[in-house]
């Protein structure tokens, strides 16, 4: 298993953004909104996947990437909660763990390494969310978080990191 961000230039997907969430559940869609916006860049070196949930099938796509950025909403404790950026490493499923919407993307990285022999350099951007009720609009603060997350994606793409955790 290798981490190929620095060394491998042959990856099919140099920079991968996976944003997930339920677009019918208010702020839960924040991660998907980011991925949809990145997809609109139409850059040949950037692939964006807005998805409903994380599934094991993503493992082979991950394995083709040099760097991956996961984007998801997190339930904020109160106003002023920050957009979080953290570096991820592959991790096995622990007791009670899952591979799913509430699971850790680290499990998918683990799967990519186990099955395809490659774990990309990986980051998780968490966008503060306040409203998960039925609805297709983001709350104003989460919408600002989406804009902030887009800047973080651009920084990660440019290799500039800002870690708050």
């Amino acid at each position: 298993m290798t981490n190929n961000f620095e060394s491998d230039t042959t990856c099919a997907t140099p920079f991968l953004v996976i944003g997930w969430g339920n677009v019918l559940r208010g702020d839960d869609a924040a991660g998907r909104r980011v991925a949809e916006a990145v997809a609109a860049w139409t850059r040949h070196d950037v692939t964006a996947l807005p998805v409903h949930q994380l599934t094991p099938e993503l493992a082979d796509t991950l394995a083709d990437a040099r760097r991956v950025v996961f984007v998801d909403a997190y339930a904020a404790a109160g106003t002023g909660a920050p957009v979080r950026v953290e570096h991820l490493t592959a991790a096995p499923v622990g007791p009670g763990g899952t591979v799913g919407h509430h699971g850790d993307p680290a499990h998918l990285l683990q799967l990519a390494g186990q099955l395809y022999g490659n774990v990309p350099d990986a980051w998780l951007i968490g966008i503060p969310a306040f409203n998960f009720a039925l609805g297709e609009t983001l709350s104003p603060e989460t919408a600002r978080g989406v804009a902030d997350a887009m800047q973080q994606v651009e920084r990660l793409l440019a290799g500039t990191l800002r870690t708050t955790i």
């Binding site: 009670g96 899952t98 499990h107």
Partner: protein, 474 residues
């Protein structure tokens, strides 16, 4: 003193449920109940909506098999409009429905159930998941991932979306198929077929290690219900309903979709939100029947594609009459994957598959409509009534998992009686009772977000409700 054990939640299924096992005064299992603890209410809240919205609305019933609801809903709308959709549209719907079946069966077999087959029913529950399989059997895990992705990509390529596509519409489909998409799908068919056949060749001898489970996982006589073509072949999109008994004797055939209510009743039990359908002529609960891959292979005369027919002939050697053990749902699922790949390949090779005539347009011409198709888990029935303005006034959905409710309850009772003894429930016994439910691949939720192991609570209570024993899997 009577006692009961609660398994809550049941793991590696789609949705939320729990199981209660009741012990008698001697501490032996007396009965077991499968509780579906979530309530959706789709039939009620669609009232007042334009009937044309029903495919999109009801597809939200499920995040795993939205295509199935699109099919049944669109067919019910076709019925309301009183149109016969263009032949190409019907073929495209069939391809989509088969792709849905392939991806759903792959999810069930590889992601949810293969950990039991590969790592063992008694293995460490911490590792008994797809990651555990990937660690020890990476090639099989890769096969599972690839096969599911194949089905999902067919859906995405044809409709533009992997989940909740809106391409199937009343009157047909919204957009014709392009040659590019057809060729992309067909290019993947050989690998998909190779994987499906390789998995079958591994699984057929492997099931010999599960004789005890085969004999006790809902292994009893029952009726079986499924769609067949007019000539009795395996069918997933249209055709007629057929019911056979445990000897595979046909007891009802060529049942029209619109007449389903004459044959199927729906009972309600106080312990579950899931209704209990039954075959009316035999009453409740004597009219218990099963649907899904096992039932479809039991009701049909043939599959209608070469490789699947060869596999069906071997499958039929398992026992005379209908194959009764629900453990063999897994085997049947693999045969249906082979069939699905063969059949969608045939359909995509049709000379008219790229025709641009793919949608009939009409206003409502009837006040009610029924649509029936086969979801991966079994027969799916949508029935709507509308007012003169085309607004839905009443809806009835009978989902595949509901049809199997009576059989699931009897199945967990059979397994619990065999595997559960005493006041404590061993991990292996617990997993086996859950595995009976997983045989049916029940889909209880529209948007379950978990694949793998979830927390599990087991409680042993006496008749007053006092907890005598409790196990938590965290």
């Amino acid at each position: 003193m009577a006692k009961h054990i609660i398994i809550d939640p049941v793991t590696r299924i789609e949705g939320h449920s729990k199981i209660t096992i009741f012990l008698n005064d001697q501490g032996k299992v007396e009965n077991a109940q499968f509780h579906v603890t979530q309530f959706r209410g789709f039939e009620k809240f669609v009232e007042g909506r334009p009937f044309q919205e029903m495919p999109s609305l009801t597809a939200r019933t499920c995040g795993i098999c939205p295509v199935s609801h699109l099919m049944a809903a669109s067919k019910a709308c076709d019925d309301i409009m009183a149109v016969r959709i263009p032949a190409t549209a019907a073929k495209l719907r069939r391809v989509l429905n088969l792709a849905q079946m392939v991806q759903s069966h792959a999810l069930s077999f590889f992601h949810l159930s293969s950990p039991d087959f590969l790592l063992g029913m008694d293995s460490d529950p911490v590792a008994r998941n797809i990651l555990g399989v990937a660690a020890k059997f990476p090639e099989l895990a890769q096969d599972g991932i690839w096969l599911r992705k194949f089905g999902q990509q067919v859906i995405e390529r044809m409709t533009g979306k992997r989940v909740h596509p809106a391409w199937v519409v009343p009157g047909g489909v919204s957009k014709p198929l392009s040659a590019e998409v057809r060729d992309q799908i067909l290019a993947d068919v050989p690998k998909a077929l190779t994987i499906a056949r390789r998995t079958l060749e591994w699984f057929k001898p492997a099931i010999k290690k599960f004789e005890e489970e085969i004999s006790t996982f809902a292994n009893f006589p029952s009726l079986f219900l499924g769609l067949v073509t007019p000539d009795g072949s395996l069918e997933h999109y249209d055709g007629f309903m057929r019911i056979v008994d445990s000897n595979r004797k046909i007891i009802a055939d060529k049942l029209e979709s619109s007449a389903y209510a004459h044959h199927i009743g729906e009972a309600v039990e106080p312990f579950s939100y899931l209704k209990s359908p039954f075959f009316k002529p035999l009453g409740y609960p004597g009219g218990m029947y099963r649907v899904g891959p096992l039932a479809r292979l039991n009701v049909c005369d043939r599959c209608g594609t070469p490789l699947a027919d060869r596999e069906l002939a071997e499958f039929r050697k398992l026992q005379e009459g209908a194959v009764l053990s629900s453990f063999h749902y897994h085997y049947a699922r693999l045969i249906e994957i082979v069939y699905g790949i063969e059949r969608l390949s045939e359909l995509l090779g049709s000379s008219d598959i790229l025709s641009t005539q793919v949608r009939a347009v009409a206003n409502p011409n009837k006040s009610e409509g029924v649509g029936v198709s086969e979801a991966p888990r079994g027969t799916l029935i949508h029935h709507y009534r509308i007012d003169p303005d085309g607004l839905v006034t009443w809806a009835n959905l009978i989902i595949a998992t509901g049809h199997n409710n009576l059989a699931m309850n009897r199945g967990i009772t059979q397994a619990a009686k065999h595997f559960v003894t005493g006041k404590k429930i061993a991990e292996g016994a617990l997993n086996r009772v859950e595995a009976v439910i997983r045989c049916y691949d029940p889909c209880l939720s529209c948007s379950t977000h978990a694949l793998g192991q979830m927390p599990l609570q087991v409680q042993l209570r006496d008749v007053e409700g006092t907890v005598l024993d409790e196990q938590l899997r965290e």
